[in-house]
């Protein structure tokens, strides 16, 4: 259902600031729109995005309906050690998606 794309550089030098890009498919229905029959379309958004680096949180974003459909986020972190960078999106109607990427730090 939800497909997420993450872009993490596979290798980095220790202490280097790396740029991470994430994109997830999600309608981000605002809850302010109406269907053609006039019925209110209920809100369905991703509310929270968390990025952890080997278990330590490095970045978090709290999203509201004003984020465009298919939330796209570009942020940075310091390459401290080799390991896994994990991403989690959670939202309305029990939405949850995870993705991870490996990074080698020399």
């Amino acid at each position: 259902m939800a497909s997420a794309l993450v872009n993490v550089p596979p290798r980095a030098r220790r202490g280097e600031i790396i740029e991470i890009k994430t994109l997830i498919s999600h309608p981000m229905e605002t809850g302010y729109r109406r269907s053609q029959l006039g019925a209110a379309i209920p809100r369905d958004i991703i509310r929270l995005f968390v990025c952890t680096y080997n278990g330590t949180e490095v970045f978090r974003a709290e999203l509201h309906p004003a984020i465009a459909a298919n939330p796209f986020l570009v942020f940075s972190t310091v390459a401290t050690e080799s390991g896994t960078i994990a991403f989690q999106w959670t939202g309305d109607n029990g939405f949850s998606a995870t993705e991870s990427a490996a990074i080698t730090v020399d």
């Binding site: 974003a61 984020i67 796209f72 940075s76 310091v78």
Partner: protein, 154 residues
């Protein structure tokens, strides 16, 4: 002749339809600059918000309010002693003033984020940066929106 008349009636009907459309689209409740100030107050509390240090990049003119690229950054060494704790983004005229809150730690390395937002109207977007010393900084950018989000489909 007959064809021209029907064209005129058609145009009149179309204009009436547009007028009606405009009346209908004005109706949705939206936030006001005061609501935005309230939302900002909720985040900053009683602290003073100074202008500067935050850089908010938005296109001055956006053809599609459904996806407006936004980049916000705060100059900071990002050390445990001196880093950016959070950046909050607010709008004046969207249905609700909050857009997004980004939270960082010293491990972020750089307080710079890009995303895409929705804008329901031509309006001013404000970003508030929260630093580890407890100070708040702000920047604003005005965006002209041709196609409003929320009302029309992308």
């Amino acid at each position: 002749m007959n064809r021209e008349t029907s064209r005129r009636t058609f145009l009149q009907a179309a204009a009436a339809g547009l007028g009606l459309g405009a009346v209908v689209t004005v109706a949705p409740a939206h936030a006001t600059p005061e609501a935005m100030q309230d939302a900002i107050r909720k985040v900053v509390g009683s602290s003073r918000v100074s202008k500067g240090r935050v850089k908010l990049e938005l296109p001055p003119l956006s053809e599609n309010g459904n996806t407006v690229p936004l980049t916000v950054s705060v100059e900071s060494p990002m050390t445990p002693a001196d880093h950016v704790r959070a950046i909050h983004v607010f709008t004046e005229l969207n249905p609700q003033p909050d857009v997004v809150s980004f939270r960082f730690g010293p491990r972020a390395g750089l307080a710079r984020v890009s995303t895409r937002i929705r804008l329901a109207n031509t309006q001013t977007v404000t970003a508030i940066g929260e630093l580890s010393d407890g100070s708040f900084w702000s920047a604003s950018a005005a965006v002209v929106v041709t196609l409003a989000a929320c009302l029309e489909d992308a």
